[in-house]
Amino acid sequence: MKQISFINGSPRGNNSFSFTLLKQLETITKGEKYFINTNFKGKYDDEVFKKLANSDDIIIAFPLYYYCIPGILLNLLEQYYKYNINKKGNSANVYVIVNCGFPEPQINDEAINVIRNFSSKVGFNFRFAISIGSGGFIDATKNIPVFNKNMKNINNALERIKNDIYDQCKKQFCDDIMLEPSSPRWLVLFFSGRSWYPLGKKNGLSKKDLYRRPYVEERY
């Protein structure tokens, strides 16, 4: 039976889009499954690292933070790297699901390369990534019928990971799957830009308040 580990690299835990996508993939895969939520203190039992070392497949989902992987996820990977020195685990297949707020999924490229590089350093076999643009927009609109196509595209990509996991004769190389929102760009940007004002208003802030410049009153 396949041992599949799911790593949620989002600091927002179960409320994150990364979690939603991992859960979706978890429901369509079969095997012994192990779920790892990254944590703020960065404290992990050895059990976590043992499970990773013995996995056949590892799926790492995370949001893009400052054009790279979040500190909270890097902490886990760094600890695994240290744990793994002089040990030889399974050569697990690694899949990435990354989403950024920007419409262009290409902005995720370097973060994917970081995981690719990590995989090669610890003896894992990097397969491919699902690279999603406008992740926040797609998450917020996933239950609105007119935007259904975005989630449909993501679900198709998740199927590709599932099929690859059970493919006995894996291809040598697989391109990353780049998913731009299928909605018109102007609509995505309009919603993404306008949504901040009502969110601020819920906290009693005016539009102008969102532009505050703390710390520098003396300077300017």
């Binding site: 927002r12 054009y67 890097l74 760094e78 920007f102 940007l189 969102l210």
Partner: protein
Amino acid sequence: MSEKNVLNGDDSLNITIINDKENKIVCSEFLNNNFKKIFSGENLNTTLIQIDIDDVSPCIGCFGCWIKTPGECVIKDKMIDINKQIINSDMVIFITPIIFGQYSCAIKNVVDRTLSKNLPFFKKFNGRTGHPGRYEKYPVQYVIGCLDEGQEEDKKIFLDTHNKYRRDIQKVYISTNEEDIESIVQNIFIEVNK
């Protein structure tokens, strides 16, 4: 540097250096011992901040710095003072080990938590979408990435990330030993004083 330090009302230059305490290429002892030598010069107000992994907790992705307390992170730890220090500096130098091609997690936590200095909206910069700045002026920022020799892939990813997207960073340097740091910093000063 042409910009005067308005904060102090004089010609002095406020420099902030942020280093990972666990940086094995540029260890804390080296920076501390050579601090005065490297950062010597009249009118330099230099602050060295050594970051321990437990000093700054990770960004929690709550967007509170955009929609609850705009410009200020909602997590009350060392980062409050660091954000204040950064925006009131003329120059900031980040010194970080390069891990798998990106910052160390101690420094990445700091960088992630500077999100508050941007606005939430989108804007195109040289054909790429990014967040516009919150402030009119920012310090000139440099990054020194430290790694062992031969780690070409790490180096490439690190440089690509900065060159493509980090328009707020003036220049990125790569260092493989402590001696490099001294000449890199001298270069930075020469460049700034041009």
